[in-house]
Each structure stands twice: as structure tokens, then as C-alpha cells.
Symmetry: D2
Subunit: 309 residues, 4 copies
């Protein structure tokens, strides 16, 4: 039987030796100054045991990986009515594209592109002040990770706000079609805080465990979402989790996954493992370069692809 | 344990009672005159046993389902060089859209939209006359289905040719970018014959069995494609197999699948089953309405989703 | 010789008898409540004489007609450097489309679509507070119209702001590409005030006279812009002045013109006349229905097309 | 008074001294081998006198300039019903774009982009064999130029056919929407012959004279089209005559004009002159670089802009 720890150690060693580890996200100074030469990986198994390697205890900005958790939160609060505000089709376009939003009258294609995640935040905010909504999101993620030490990096949140014109454009665009209810600066305030959550690989893998375990946290026993809903979140991660590189990730890795421009990726092997990997250098479409390669290795060596027997 | 035959019988009975079974494809007369009130389903298990219900022995035009087989054939002949002519990302557009082809300089997004399948045919034709290429495709599919009685409906092929302006437009467009080598009428001649293959659900489920069995035909023992390649074909089926309804199919059914406008769908439960369903009525994006609903039922009741534990 | 006053009287009489006068703009309440059954026309000749008919002394919201004046103002202040922020090609898209802005990296196609006019306002604001910029625009237009009574309707300006999400989206989008320097709410504040200027046909025709007179106000003798610049503004009015109906307006009327969603149109017959027409009902692409028909009549009967001998 | 011949001589001398004369069209070998260092200009006045300079007697492939004549021919044969097959708006896209054709269901934006000109040819062909239609077009142009020696270059026509995939794509696309009646190879056969017409500047300026003279050939006295129709053709030339550089041409030159990738441009100064210029080097959007500069000079020095007094 393949030894998981051994595989992780080898993957981490290999990552350390790679020359071209991609380009760190440049759009906000706080992300641009992160050292590209970092790599961490952690795997949480259904029995709660954790294996890890590399910089798995170093915190990073989870950015768009947070969209998985806000989607789960919104589905829990509002049920399938979420789908009247956002679709579940791959977009065939970059993460911040506005073209399809014009063609489809302000309804984002899926909850994992920026526009879709902003629409999900607007839903979560119903009846809440921005601070309350931020609090609800952070509590939900602490609960999932079973770790109350998880925090938001206010510097990153402020920097996102200062450079947030593209997202403001998306939000105003949707609002002009009536698909955003709250004031744009409130919605973006929450959204930028959600993106600025800091987690390490161990925390992130733990937080995603319910998606590998039929919607249930196998350690605490809490049913986070229904089994069917967990499957469906996995399905959207697989078809839409890597922007316009989703097909490529499915092809190479074969697991549901969600990436962030901070270099993190959460991947789910249903029934087998929740995996978090992090390396700040990105590829052409904005997904972690070493992170994707590591997951490809891991899935192959552990035989975890959902497309295999 | 759930009894598969019982489930299939119930699904077929339910299908027979549905009022709104969608709209039969209208773009060629031969398809338009098919009776919408038909429904068949067949499941082939890795041990080769077959279960079926409804009109599972009635032949139908497999149309775009054939794209799975020509992709496998091209990969077998040319290896990964296929991917220099065609991508593997969902398109976010209808099956016959030309917009993305202009933006991406004649390279189709994936092998399952029309442009991509035409590019694959062009690759298969290398060194062949059209008739030989048609012969090679039909032999490959007969081999997969272990059934030499499978034929092409020449009326359908001719009718496609007579109404083939949209596909001719796609082919000439790619050719203007150098992504089609052979004369357009030759390539389309092969393509339209491939689409005009007639199979019934039992034959189709049998032909897809290698994708559920690590690339190997478990009955004859022939290795059709490598295990990794089988997984990757499944991945593309999941992300791109239902045109601009691929995300929805993954969300509802949770299995790799490929649909055709004749109303057929081939779906793969890796390690568990190859499934063919057929009902001619289509939904808004061109996928079988009752067929999708039947697969949703089947996957849920048999617990076959790739996204579950 | 054709008698101009007679022609105007007949045109106004005809307009009064038309049943279908189009649909009043609905996007802000202040415009939606205007009575569609109004029609005014005024013609100023190079010698300063004015002929008019119908409701030519009734004020209306000039909206996008103001873009002609802010373009002239910006060109006067900044010269041809204006063209590094905005192009001069027809867009082939609706007035508020964001698609081309994404393809062309935040540079609007021309100064007469919304995005382009917002970019022009940003240029005018250099070194100014919003109030000062508004003051400069209103002084410039009063100067052109030789009429200090011209005012801004604050209700309309506020209503535009309250319903300004689409324009905010355009502005943030351009700002994300560095093509807007000032804070978006400042720029939009100025832009919405500019659009809320109230003028009647007599004032508007007078204000446009310099464009019919080689850039010079023939009454006061002031050279507003150079002769070449006047011609070029006319050229842009002809190719871009009616959004995605610009070709149609050139075809039917044959004069440079600029429309606004308030139902006003300014048209220029170089060397012959400056014409303002107003009727609040709009056609499908957002141009005054009766206004266009009136200009078509007038140009034909006075033989004023720039495309004739 | 400005001496026209002197101006032309100076313009030709200046053109001969320019270093960067653009890039000759590369898409067919016959055009690619033309010497870029050629320049001719000819002006025909309403009294029939001709002034010229440079290589004004050298024949060249008129290419898309022919679209002006086929539009006039189609309008003469079919009247305004032409406009049900083709629009009259600038496209905001390159000459051979297919994007807008998909959005607008196969109806080209105007008769001067490739798709529009192909649709016009399809109209002209009604009731004719391809050879007859080619004959009718060549006779019409000989009649306009009052010169029976004008011929088609069969090498160019054949070369266009051999490299005609992009135009074939456009034609099949329109045909799939029912906007082309005849077989695509027939329509393209006529279209490629029309583009392969060889004329020199003197012939071309003469052929366009009716557009500067109220639709009438002032030499022969023949009324080619009505006065109103001549104006309208001029209007379309101004808004759509230079593909996605039409706004720029109107801005710089201020005259209706139609360019071809052979490097020719026909420009009309209504009531004053018909002008043909030719220089094979093209700018970025496919219009003659020196030709445009020459027309800018000429219009400015002769004060011929339609936008001036």
C-alpha cells in the first residue's frame, strides 16, 4: 500500500527543487511581496488524522478558496433559492470577465467566478450589517476548521478595497440588473474581508473535510450540509473551480478543487481525503503552478481521481 | 442492496408517464420525424452483464455521442499531439458557436463541441481517403461494441450534408487558421457519417464499457486506451460533454456523460457501469430531457455519483 | 427658394399628428414622467437669426447631447492628448455596453458612448474639485448659447446618481485599467450633472452654432475651436453620434448629429445651420423617434445633406 | 485659387519620399508580390476633366472598392429590399469578423464588410448563372467608367478561391440562417471575380463620378441611381467604408470613401470631385497607408471635407 506521508514528503521535496514556480499575484501589494519559493501541503483523512509536508503551518491569504465556504453557508441559509441569483455552468472566460454578465443580464455563470461570489455575499448579507456578515462567515469557517484562531488580514482587506475597481465594476453591473440588493460598498466590504482570511494548509484541509465525508464533519459529527448538497458543491468545484483552467485541472488532477490567487488550492477526494496545497506562484490563468503539479502527483500516486475505477 | 433491474424498470415506467418530454431536434427532417414518446435505457456492468428497460433495442442516431469514440480513436492513433489542435476547456457557449473560435484563432475549446469534433476527424483522416476514414471509425465502434451489425444511416448522413452550412462554416473558419488540413467537404463527409451511426442503448452501453473499466474491455480483455487516458476522457466528458449544460449535468447527475441531438446519452460510472439512455425530446440546450432525468434518478438510487463517498 | 419657417411649421404640424411617437426613457423616474406628446424644433443660421416651431421654448434634459460640448471643452483644454484616453470609432454596440471595453482594455471607442463621455469628464476634472468642474462645464455651455439662464436640474442629477449603477460599472471598469484618474463618485457626480442640464431647442441650436461656422461663434466672433477641430467634431458626430443607430441616422438624415435619451438631438449642417429638435419618445436604439423623422424631412427639403452636391 | 494639378503633383512627390509605406496584403500570393513603392492618384471633376499624378495609369486589383459598385447595382435592380438582407451600421469589428454575424443571426451589419458584400452578390445573382452575374457586374463597371477595356485578373480570382476559407465560412454561416440563397461556391465564385477587377486610378475615379454628381453621370448624362440613393451610398461609405478604421478616416479625411486591400481607395467630394488613390501598403486595419495620407492632404488643401462650411 502506498504510504501517504512518504508521497507527501517526496512531493514537497520535488517542489523545493523546481526552478519555475510561476508568478506571484501582482494586483495588490500585499500579495505581490509574498516569497514565491514556498510550498505546503496537508491531507486530512475521514478519521481526522492529518498528514502534511513543507510549509503546511504557514498562513496564507486564502482568497477565492473562501468561495467554497460562502457557497456552503449561503446554501445552508437560503437553500436552492441561491440558484436564482447565480448559475452553475463553467464560464469559458477569465475570473473577472464582464462580457458574459452583459450577455446574461447580470446573472453570473457560477458562484466561483468573482461576480458569482459577490452575488453569494449579497445573499448572505440579507438582514445583516456588513460587520455581522463578516462575523458570520469567519465563525462558519472557524467551525469548519474546528479552530478559533483563524483571522482576517486587515491589511490585505484594505489593499483589496483600494484596488477593487474591477470587482466594483462587476458589482455595480449586477446591481444595475437588480441582482445585487445591498449597497455595492457594503457587499464589497464583506467580499474583500472574506478573501483576506488567513489559513494554513492544515486548517484549510480540515475545513474542507465535510466535502469528502458526505456533508458531515466526521470528527465532530456535525452535519454541515446534506449529502446531496456536498456532492453538488463538489460537482461545481470540478466544473468551475479553476476559472478558465477548470477543464485542464479536471483533466490533469481529476478531483474537485478550488483555487485562489494567494496560491492555495482545496481539493476533495470524496470518501478519501480533503487536501490543501499552497504555493504562491501562479500559472497563466491564475492557479497555483506548483500546487496543481503537486495535486496531479498526489492523485495519481494515491489513485484518488474521481474518474478512475 | 438496491436491485438494478428494478430501478431501471421503475425509471422506464416513470418516463412513459411524463407529459413534457421535450422537443425533437428539428434541424434535419430525418431527426424531426422521430417519435418523441420513446425511451430506452441499458446498463453494462464490468462483468459484461447487461440490464435494460424500455426501448433499449431500438436503434437511434447517436450523433454527438460518437465524439467520445472518435476522440479515443484519435488519441490512440496520434497520442497527445491531438491536443495541439483542440483544447480541453468547457466553452461556455452553444454547441455550434463560432465566437470563441474567432477569439482563439481557430482552435476549438474541446473535442465535444462541433468544431472540436470536426478537428478530430481531420486528424483521423491523415493519409486516408474519406471512405477509409469512415470505415476506420465504424470498425472501431463495432469493435468496442463487439457487434459487427452496427451501420450508418445514409439518409441521415445525406440530410446532414444538405443542411450542413453551420458546420461547413466552422470547418472553413478553422481551415482559414490552418487548423484543418483536408478539404472541408471531405472532412464534413466523414463527420456527417460518424454522426449518422445507428446504435441502440444496449450496443452503446457496451461500446462505452472500456471507460468504466480503466480503459480495458473487461469482456474481450483488449486494452482500448491506457488507464490514465480513460480517466482523462471521462474528465472531458464531465466538464464538456453536455455543451453549455455540462455544469448542470455534473450538478444533477454527477457522472461523466456525452449527449447527442438524437436524444442519446452515454454516461460512465467509473468502476461500476457504462450506461446508455435514449429519449428523442431535447431540453433548451440540446440534451435529452427524459434521458437526463433518468440518469439523475439512476445515479442517485445506485449511489453512483463520482462526487460521493 | 424654400422658405425655412414654412418648412418648420409643416414639420411641427406633422409631428403633432403622428400616433406612434416612441417610448419615453424609463431608467429614471424624472425622465419617465415627461409627456411624450411634445415636439419642438429650432434652427439657428450663421447670421444668428433663429427660426423655430412647436415647443421650441420648453426646456428638456439634454442628457447625452451635452457630450458634444464636453468634448469641445476637453479638446480646448488638453488638445489632441484627449485621444489617448478615448478613440474615435463607432462602437457597433449599445450606448452602455461594456463588452468592447473589456476587449480594448478600458479605452472607450469614442467620446459619445457613456464610457467615453465619462473618460472625457475625468480629463476635464484635472486639478479641479467636482463642483468646479461642473461650474466650468455650465459656464462653457452658457457661453456657447450666449445665455446665462441655463441651469442644471438637481432632481434629475440626483435621480441619475441613485440609478447610476451601470455607469458606475463602466467607470470602475475603466479605472481598473488606469483610464480614470479621479475617484469614481467624483467623476460620476460631474457626469450626472452635465447630463442634467436643461435647455430648450432655441438655446441648444444657438449653442451648437460654432460647429456650423468653422469653429467660430459668428454672432460674438469668438473662435471656440479651430476650424479643423470643428470639422472633426462633426465627423465624430456623424459616425458615432447616435450610438448603434449612427449609420441609420447618416443614411436617413445625412447630417452630423448627437442625440440624448431626453429626446433632444443637435444636428449640424456645416456652413448652413445649427438645428435642435426635441421629442421625448425614443426608438429602439434610444434616439428620438419624431426628432429623427423631423430632421430627415428638414434635411431633404432644405437640401442640407452633407452627402449631396 | 488652389491649383488642383499642383496639389496632386506635390502629394505624389511627397508619397515618393515616404519611408514607411505600410505592408502589402499577404493573404494571397498575387497581392503579396506587388511592389509597395507605388503611388497613383486621379481626380475626375463634374465636367469630366481628369487630373492625375504618379502611377495613375497602372492597373491594380480593386478588391473591396468594388463593393460600392455592386451595392449600386443591387439597389438599382432590387430597390430598398436589399436592406432586408444587409444592414447599414458600422460594425465595430474587423472586415472578416464573424462574431457579430452570430449575434445578429446571419444578417451582416453593412454591405461593405465581406459578409455584407457576399450577401449583396447573392441578391444580384437571382435568376442568373454565376458567369452571367460576373458579366453583369463587369458590364456595369465598364459602363460607369465609360471604358470597355476593364478586365478581371483570373489569376487573382483563382488565388482568392484557393485561399477563400474565411469568406466561405462567412457565406456558409449566413446560409445557415437563410440569408444566402445560392450555393456557396457559386456566390463566392462571383464575389472573388468582382474583387479581382483590375482598374487604374483614372478609371476608378471616372467610375465613381456619379456619386459626386447627384447619381448622374455628368458626361454621358445617364442617371445611374437617384439623387437620394447617391447620397445614401455616400453616407454608408462614410460610416462603413474603411472597416474598423471608418471613424478615423472620417475624422482625418472627412469624405465618403471605400478602401480595398489592393491598396486602392475611392473617395467622393459631393458636387466637387471623384477621387481615386492607390498605394499597395496597408495600415493596421487594412487600409492604404499612403492613400489615406494623400486624401487627408488633398481634402485639406482643396477644402473638400463634407464637414466644413
Amino acid at each position: 500500500m502506498t504510504d501517504l506521508q512518504e508521497v507527501l514528503d517526496e512531493i514537497a521535496a520535488e517542489a523545493a527543487s523546481v526552478e519555475d514556480c510561476g508568478v506571484v499575484a501582482q494586483y495588490i501589494p500585499e500579495l505581490a511581496k509574498v516569497d514565491a519559493k514556498q510550498f505546503g501541503i496537508a491531507v486530512t483523512l475521514p478519521d481526522g488524522t492529518v498528514h502534511s509536508a513543507g510549509d503546511s503551518a504557514t498562513g496564507f491569504s486564502i482568497q477565492s478558496v473562501s468561495k467554497v465556504f460562502t457557497l456552503a453557508l449561503a446554501l445552508g441559509k437560503l437553500g436552492d433559492s441561491v440558484w436564482s441569483s447565480v448559475g452553475r455552468e463553467p464560464s469559458g472566460n477569465p475570473f473577472n470577465s464582464i462580457v458574459q454578465l452583459e450577455q446574461e443580464k447580470g446573472r453570473p455563470r457560477n458562484p466561483f467566478i468573482n461576480a458569482g461570489a459577490i452575488a453569494v455575499v449579497d445573499l448572505i448579507m440579507a438582514g445583516h450589517q456588513p460587520k455581522e456578515a463578516i462575523g458570520e462567515i469567519i465563525q462558519f469557517i472557524r467551525h469548519l476548521a474546528d479552530d478559533d484562531s483563524i483571522l482576517i488580514d486587515e491589511h490585505v482587506a484594505r489593499s483589496e478595497t483600494a484596488h477593487g475597481d474591477r470587482n466594483a465594476s462587476l458589482a455595480h453591473f449586477m446591481r444595475s440588473f437588480g441582482n445585487i440588493d445591498h449597497p455595492v460598498d457594503h457587499v464589497l466590504g464583506v467580499y474583500f474581508h472574506q478573501c483576506a482570511l488567513v489559513m494554513n494548509c492544515r486548517q484549510l484541509a480540515r475545513a474542507g473535510l465535510f466535502l469528502a465525508s458526505q456533508g458531515r464533519d466526521p470528527v465532530t459529527g456535525a452535519q454541515v450540509v446534506s449529502e446531496q448538497r456536498a456532492r453538488r458543491i463538489n460537482a461545481i468545484m470540478l466544473t468551475c473551480g479553476h476559472y478558465d483552467g477548470s477543464g485542464e485541472f479536471a483533466f490533469r488532477v481529476g478531483l474537485p478543487g478550488k483555487s485562489g490567487v494567494g496560491g492555495g488550492i482545496l481539493a476533495i477526494a470524496p470518501g478519501k481525503a480533503s487536501i490543501a496545497v499552497w504555493s504562491p506562484g501562479l500559472d497563466r490563468v491564475g492557479n497555483s503552478k506548483l500546487g496543481t503539479a503537486a495535486l496531479e502527483q498526489l492523485a495519481r500516486r494515491m489513485d484518488w481521481s474521481v474518474f478512475g475505477a
